[in-house]
């Protein structure tokens, strides 16, 4: 048997194992998820079909949309601060400098650390209390020692500062991944391009703009998408820093889904939340992919 159909079939075989696993472990639970989102169900017992009522309730749920905003804020910080840091570090480590391997190992430590340790350390660092006149929290202690006692603050207890703190801790924990990906991308750029640019007399900024960035565009797109996904879905870190939350100020979509599942026993509602959340993320990612394609062609 020869010809295009047989060729196509053989090509399809390449993705067959992936598609099989995916269908069994994702597609089926996902269809169940869609089905459950149309029910009112506490997790056990009778399942009552309520149609789109869960979704209608969700649209009016102010806490839910606020939580989306919080996740968006954390994502924004991650996209700018975290990725800029990762890129700067990757650039620094790409050159032939000493201790390169040491740095590359060290920057990978925050992602490896368990949330337990991260939560404990940052809780201690950002603690706003005092004992016997001394500041308990490390940050406040340093501020007092360096002569800035009026900057002392209840970092995790003030609604105004708690979200920025969470965003910074998240960025600190996550920049290692961006660093690895960007470094890998930088290292696959043909060195001859750099040579050619140097011969042409281009300075470091021109080289960066005309050689590095264009070659890195696909990797940067992946990093951006991954940052958005990872930051929008953050929740373990929040639980370890502020437990069930500072009223509603630290809620993000995934914590709200967890509350619906285990706190208020509204399984169907939780599934509806998951569906809406996923739909929004998909829309955002596709917009990004399209934008990146347009830039690539330009």
């Amino acid at each position: 048997m020869t010809g295009r159909p047989w060729d196509s079939f053989k090509n399809f075989l390449f993705i067959a194992p992936a598609v099989t696993i995916f269908s069994v472990f994702y597609i089926y639970p996902f269809i169940e998820l869609l089905r459950l989102s149309l029910l009112q169900w506490p997790g056990i017992g009778p399942q009552i079909f309520v149609g789109l009522q869960n979704f209608r309730e969700l649209i009016d749920d102010k806490v839910w949309w606020d939580s989306m905003g919080h996740a968006g804020y954390i994502t924004l910080i991650a996209l700018t601060f975290q990725n800029a840091l990762a890129f700067a570090l990757a650039l620094a480590c790409d050159r032939e400098i000493r201790l390169k391997r040491f740095y590359r190992l060290v920057f990978f430590i925050p992602p490896v650390l368990s949330e337990v340790v991260v939560g404990m350390i940052w809780n201690w660092t950002l603690n706003g209390g005092t004992q016997d006149g001394r500041q308990i929290g490390f940050l406040n202690y340093c501020l007092v020692q360096s002569g800035l006692p009026n900057l002392v603050h209840g970092w995790l207890s003030d609604p105004k500062t708690v979200l920025p703190c969470i965003a910074i801790v998240h960025a600190w924990k996550g920049f290692g991944w961006g660093f690895i990906l960007l470094l890998a991308g930088l290292q696959t750029i043909d060195r001859q391009l750099y040579e050619a640019a140097r011969v042409d007399g281009a300075g470091s900024w021109r080289t960066f703009w005309h050689v590095t960035l264009p070659m890195m565009l696909p990797v940067i797109t992946v990093v951006v998408i991954l940052t958005i996904l990872g930051s929008m879905q953050v929740f373990v870190l929040i639980l370890s820093l502020v437990n069930q939350g500072l009223v509603y100020h630290t809620d993000v979509p995934v914590t709200r889904i967890l509350v619906s599942m285990t706190g208020t026993n509204q399984f169907g509602y939780a599934c509806a939340q998951a569906v809406i959340f996923g739909a929004i993320l998909i829309a955002v990612s596709f917009v990004l992919l399209k934008v990146s394609n347009i830039i690539k062609r330009a």
């Binding site: 809780n123 005092t130 004992q131 207890s157 609604p159 437990n243 009223v247 509350v259 599942m261 026993n265």
Partner: protein
């Protein structure tokens, strides 16, 4: 290509090794529990039981409790629940499990031999798993679970820190407490710490004052919907938190503190008062053996009425109705509630034993917690419970009061709004 083939062989081997499921032996009961601190103690007891009766007890631990609950629900759906397990959720979830046929009715076992088993345990502990006639969930009256231990939440005070502020005895009334708070603030000691990052502790604290201010009948009437949350008595309950906040009683960050961190804070003498349960005795012993502290009920707002703490079964097991080894399972759990085993468990983890006689064997400092059991209640013994969404609004509203974002009146209105919405839903 060779390494790919080797890899595939590896995977197939694992597949083969992993696929075979051992058949369930007849002389074995399977127990799923979540009590991390008691794993060692339970395993010791399981070995003793096997030596005594020849029945093997397979103990599997799944923690934290959220993961445990998910596992139980998933197993219920797939019909693979073990012989003995626990339902860590509210009473209506227990009711759903009963209706689905996964929980055995143990009334007969409790009442056998003229109620020998039932009278050996504290009535309040048994009531947590009991459904009374005419209950809201429509379950046939009876006892559906076995309590393993009891506990209550009390006010704990650091004698040393109080003396530094010039206070010689624990406050008995709310005004006395506020005065103590003022004295502590004057000497720069944080007055009060508790794990208010875990909403249930706020619930317990607020419930104490609700019962003290308006009595059980009115509280339950509110749950039924006949009394509004904007009633002055409820405003007084919210006002307790506002008063404490205004006097600066709450330690910084109390609203995001987990209970374990709160225990650390009290053990390290960072605060003079704490609100916690009997198990904290063990934590304090571990972290600061020299801590000089006492235990008392929360200071009453209404001196004429008692302070009613939450007390009752801390942990309970249910028996799977669909299990083939039901009788053996019941026998094992009954053995766990006997005096000797209860004394052993209590010595290990410092929760109070559910067996009456074992109470005589408990360490000294737990006695105060035990005394509080006399005037205690528990949400699971109330004939009606509050809707989960209303409860969330209630507790989060109190958090808002504590951090100074909102007022008691505003919270009362917000909670009543949610209550009205939920009541409308139930009607149809």
């Amino acid at each position: 290509m060779k390494s790919v083939a080797g890899l595939l062989c590896c995977l197939l081997l694992i597949a083969a090794a992993g696929c075979s499921r051992p058949a369930k032996p007849a002389n074995q009961i399977e127990v799923w529990h979540w009590m991390t601190d008691r794993q060692d103690a339970l395993e010791t007891l399981a070995r003793r039981y096997e030596a005594k009766t020849g029945i093997k007890v397979k103990l599997d631990l799944f923690a934290p409790s959220d993961a445990y609950t998910q596992k139980v629900i998933a197993a219920a759906q797939a019909d693979v629940l073990p012989d003995v397990y626990g339902i860590l959720d509210k009473k209506d979830i227990l009711a759903s499990f009963i209706k689905a046929g996964y929980v055995a009715d143990l009334t007969a076992a409790f009442n056998a031999d003229n109620g020998a088993w039932a009278s050996s345990l504290f009535a309040k502990a048994i009531d947590v798993n009991r459904f009374v006639p005419g209950n809201a969930e429509g379950i046939a009256p009876g006892i559906y679970g076995v309590p393993l231990d009891i506990g209550s939440e009390q006010l704990i005070y650091n004698r040393h820190l109080l003396k530094k502020a010039g206070i010689t005895k624990a406050p008995a009334t709310f005004p006395e407490w506020l005065a103590a708070v003022d004295a502590l603030r004057r000497v720069g000691i944080a007055p009060f710490v508790s794990g208010f990052g875990e909403l249930w502790l706020i619930d317990c604290f607020a419930s104490n004052y609700a019962f003290n201010i308006m009595g059980e009948a009115k509280v339950l009437a509110t749950f039924r919907g006949t009394v509004s949350y904007t009633d002055p008595d409820w405003i007084r309950v919210f006002g307790v938190f506002a008063a404490l906040r205004d006097r600066g009683a709450f330690i910084d960050g109390i609203v995001t503190k987990g209970n374990k961190v709160a225990e650390q804070d009290f053990a390290l003498e960072r605060a003079a008062f704490a609100f916690n349960g009997a198990w904290s005795v063990n934590v304090y012993k571990l972290m600061n053996p020299g801590l000089n502290y006492g235990v008392a009920p929360l200071p009453a707002l209404n001196p004429a009425a008692p302070m009613v703490s939450w007390g009752g079964a801390e942990s309970s097991f249910v028996i799977n109705k669909a299990s083939a080894n039901k009788d053996k399972a019941v026998a094992f759990v009954k053995w766990l509630t006997a005096r000797e085993q209860q004394a052993f468990l209590s010595a290990q983890v410092n929760n109070l034993p559910v067996n009456r006689q074992a109470m005589a064997d408990i360490p000294e400092n737990l006695a105060a917690f035990a005394k509080a059991m006399e005037s205690s209640t528990h949400p699971k013994v109330w004939p009606v419970s509050e809707d989960a969404l209303v409860r969330e609004a209630f507790l989060k509203g109190i958090q808002g009061i504590i951090i100074g974002e909102t007022s008691p009146e505003a919270v009362a209105r917000a909670v009543q709004q949610v209550k009205d919405r939920q009541m409308k839903k139930v009607k149809h």
